[in-house]
């Protein structure tokens, strides 16, 4: 999937270069449209302090510079983003509110596991700069040295190791697909569920469970306490350069690698709004793009370990919908933890 994004982002870049002339004329149009004429809100469907909240707050001053209006952050946590998403669906299509969201996996997951009443296609991605990938890891004190050791032990006796994972998560799908590929009976494995990445990581680092399958980024502060075993990705991670990748592991083991991104985070609006207000959407899109590419923004966010890659709406929507489809395909895996 990464390869897709890479390829498209290159094409996207060309398209953008072609459209540069139009972009230069944009501030004039913005003024003529007099949008936005009041403050713009970034809605974060999580509590203060998480990745999305930090991303929104860090981007706000740079967006403000582009939009010429104050940009404020509003948190509306709860129900695995169902409450925030529902609230957002109820807002008028005037472009005064954008979401900063872990759209993948939260939107599809909330539909599949929490019976939310919206559809994955109701949302439109402006840009999803951040991806977090599932990492299989074990506490250093456990003395587990490689993923092959884990596979061998689980194949011999599925009850020999306990696994920590979040229910209804991309991590669970990845874990389930991994077990399936190796012919390990998941119903016999001792799977321990944690309602949040934080508790799952604490349980992994503390050795409460033998192996944890959870987003790798959150492990960075306690990197020294864990032995990373496998990254569910096809591309080397800058955070964990020496960790084996699923693609290589699968090739060696002779199966087709399949995985979903742990989190795809960034700027989200409603498809309804894009269709109803194409002009305003264009202004917002441009503002997000310019803010994302602003060198000052890039360096400020890099210091806070926040991503500023520009993939653009086309690539972002494709990645989001692809992972939503994959999740729908494996929905039955999600229902049994």
């Amino acid at each position: 999937m990464t390869k897709h994004i890479e390829a498209i982002s290159r094409r996207q870049a060309l398209m953008l270069a072609a459209g540069a002339g139009a972009a230069l004329a944009a501030p004039g149009i913005a003024r003529a449209q007099s949008f936005p004429e009041r403050p713009v809100t970034l809605l974060v469907p999580f509590a203060t302090g998480g990745y999305n909240d930090r991303l929104a707050r860090a981007m706000a001053p740079f967006l403000q510079k582009q939009l010429g209006q104050p940009v404020t952050v509003m948190n509306r946590p709860g129900g695995g983003t169902v409450l925030g998403n529902t609230f957002y669906m109820q807002q008028p299509d005037d472009g005064y509110m954008m979401m900063v969201h872990s759209a993948g996996p939260y939107i599809p997951l909330s539909i599949l596991t929490r019976n939310a009443r919206y559809k994955a296609e109701d949302f439109h991605m402006i840009n999803l700069p951040s991806r977090d990938l599932t990492l299989a890891a074990s506490a250093t004190s456990k003395g587990i040295n490689s993923i092959d050791e884990v596979v061998t032990r689980l194949k011999a006796d599925p009850r020999s190791l306990s696994i920590g994972v979040q229910p209804a998560s991309a991590d669970l799908i990845n874990m389930a697909l991994f077990m399936q590929a190796h012919g390990i009976d998941r119903s016999k494995v001792r799977v321990v569920t944690y309602d949040g990445g934080g508790p799952a990581r604490t349980a992994t680092a503390g050795g409460h469970v033998d192996v944890g399958f959870v987003g790798g980024e959150g492990f960075l502060p306690i990197k020294d306490r864990i032995k990373p075993l496998l990254m569910f990705s096809d591309e080397k991670s800058t955070d964990y350069p020496d960790v084996p990748l699923l693609t290589d592991h699968a090739r060696a083991a002779g199966f087709q690698p399949q995985s979903v991104d742990g989190s795809q985070r960034g700027f989200v609006v409603l498809k309804r709004f894009v269709e109803a207000q194409p002009e305003r959407y264009r202004i917002l899109l441009q503002a997000v793009e310019r803010a994302t590419k602003d060198p000052e923004c890039v360096s400020t966010l890099a210091n806070q370990q926040l991503a500023t890659t520009w993939y653009g709406p086309e690539a972002s929507n494709r990645a989001y919908l692809a992972s939503a489809a994959l999740m729908a395909q494996y929905a039955d895996l999600l229902k049994q933890a």
Binding site: A47, D53, V82, L220, P221, I222
Partner: protein, 508 residues
């Protein structure tokens, strides 16, 4: 374990930077006010000021946030004592004896005891943090589902039937609390009892429910009273009596130290935190007391136990956050976010490389404990004027404030609705003699016990014998049974002695 050169540079850092000091008093005051407002929790108070801290340097920002933390930790006890509504979920046990004290006219003593217990608790917890941060964090990281479930069960056993006219009614009330506490998605991803209402996906909003239960049960009981304190001559606001409360704390060093120890340890465990520490310390003090019946009727020891534990939780959870980079609860999660916003990644590396900054934060918190004594004293002095307010003004104001707080914490009408539903439940229960406090205890502990028991079961793969691989958990349960057995035996003996006495008296 103390790195003296780093300590020296921490002192220099604090001495040479007035900006590190100017935010202490505003921080404490903000914490006190938000903590005292029913419905605004410690972490919410910190979340509200988090954006402001972005514009400060790193050290002043962290000191400012920890001041808010310290202030809010104590602020919750003020409405708990004066109107029986805990300002935060960490002050629930403070209401058990604080409010009866206030009704007897000892509001100044109760608040004084709460203040001194809090300040000393904060101070000791940071001293422990200063000396033992690494070992404490290592122990805490090992606390898994078995141990946590054991701690939760201990709390429920100690407090399950609190305050009722009969044990059966107490257990019934606690069961209702547990039932309400387990609404929503459980840790394995199954939905229970949400009745299709999306607001219940994360469970019953705890704080509005708690405020509704406690407020309703008490405010209706006040219907014929004109003032919280009946006797006019007791409606005084006196600094001397606040200090008397402080003296009470010093007269009960064992209670204070036990509460502080429980607070530091329980507060340090990620996912448990100060509200559970507050309950367990109260329950343990009541159990250990020679006169358990005096609790719930205005025993200052109850206030001391409750307040020392919730305040010392701060040092405990700071240890987990600084040494491991793991937030133990909402407040330390916000501190970690503040770290990140200043381009600092919290965790073991930060501790190793910036020992001087860590020491500066700890030293500043020593100072905060002393400043809290002054600022908190003044705040309490002003706040206790509400005992002079006629109830016909006070009750409606409290109801309006609670409703607004419930709205603020949920950000929607779901908060006030929860408050209303639980107020009706609280009123019904107290009318028929069911202890409302036990519902609150069940509400707070039910989710914890259920979650951890479920994980323990998953970890064991259904094998009940697996529990013996967790000696600490077994130890906690054994100690619990032994101590319960001892108190039951003591009660029986005392009852027998009383009966014998009664026989002697009647024989005369």
């Amino acid at each position: 374990m103390i790195d003296f050169p780093a300590f020296g540079s921490a002192v220099a850092m604090l001495a040479g930077s007035p900006s590190a000091w100017i935010w202490v008093v505003p921080g404490l005051l903000i914490g006190l006010v938000f903590g005292a407002l029913p419905g605004i929790s410690v972490s919410m108070a910190m979340a509200l000021v988090l954006p402001a801290s972005l514009y400060m340097d790193f050290l002043p920002a962290i000191i400012f946030l920890t001041s808010v933390y310290t202030g809010a930790g104590f602020g919750g006890s003020i409405p708990a004592v004066l109107i029986n509504i805990p300002g935060t979920s960490s002050a629930v046990a403070t209401t058990f004896d604080g409010y009866p004290m206030a009704r007897k006219g000892q509001h100044s003593e109760a608040l004084g005891a709460a203040l001194f217990a809090s300040c000393i608790g904060v101070l000791i917890s940071y001293i422990v943090l200063f000396v033992l941060v690494q070992p404490l964090a290592e122990i805490v990281l090992r606390i898994g589902p078995y141990e946590m479930a054991a701690i939760g069960i201990w709390g429920l056993v100690l407090l399950g039937s609190i305050g009722g006219s009969s044990v059966a009614k107490g257990l019934f009330a606690a069961a209702i609390g547990v039932l309400c506490g387990t609404v929503g998605m459980n840790t394995a991803g199954y939905m229970r009892g949400d009745m299709g209402i999306s607001w219940l996906l994360d469970g019953v909003p705890t704080i509005p429910a708690m405020v509704g239960l406690l407020a309703a049960s008490q405010l209706f009981a006040l219907v014929n009273a004109k003032f919280i304190v009946e006797a006019e001559e007791h409606r005084t606001i006196s600094l001397r009596r606040i200090l008397d409360g402080g003296v009470m704390v010093l007269r009960h060093p064992v209670t204070l130290l036990r509460g502080t120890a429980i607070g530091i340890f329980v507060g340090a465990v990620p996912g448990i935190g100060s509200s559970i520490a507050n309950l367990i310390s109260y329950g343990e003090t009541r159990r250990a007391s020679k006169d358990p019946d005096s609790f719930g009727k205005g025993n200052p020891e109850g206030v001391i136990a409750a307040e020392s534990a919730n305040s010392s939780s701060e040092g405990g959870s700071m240890a987990t956050m600084l040494a491991l980079g793991i937030p133990g609860g909402g407040a330390t999660a916000i501190l970690l976010a503040a770290f990140a916003m200043h381009n600092v990644i919290g965790g073991p590396r930060f501790m190793e490389q910036n020992r001087d900054i860590v020491y500066a934060i700890i030293l500043s918190n020593f100072a905060q404990a002393f400043v809290l004594l002054l600022v908190g004293g003044a705040f309490v002095f002003v706040a206790s004027t509400i005992v002079r307010l006629p109830l016909r003004y006070l009750i409606p104001s409290v109801l309006v404030m609670s409703t607004m707080g419930a709205f603020a914490i949920e950000g929607s009408i779901a908060g006030p609705l929860t408050l209303l539903v639980f107020a009706v439940l609280g009123w019904l229960m107290s009318r028929y003699g069911f202890p409302v406090a036990a519902v609150v205890v069940g509400l707070l502990l039910g989710k914890l016990i259920e979650t951890e028991m479920l994980r323990a079961w998953q970890l064991a793969g259904g094998d009940a014998m697996y529990v013996f691989e967790h000696p600490v958990a077994v130890g906690i349960i054994v100690v619990m049974f032994v101590s319960l057995g001892l108190s039951v035996r003591r009660d029986l003996r005392r009852r027998a002695a009383l009966k014998a006495q009664a026989v002697v008296v009647s024989a005369d």
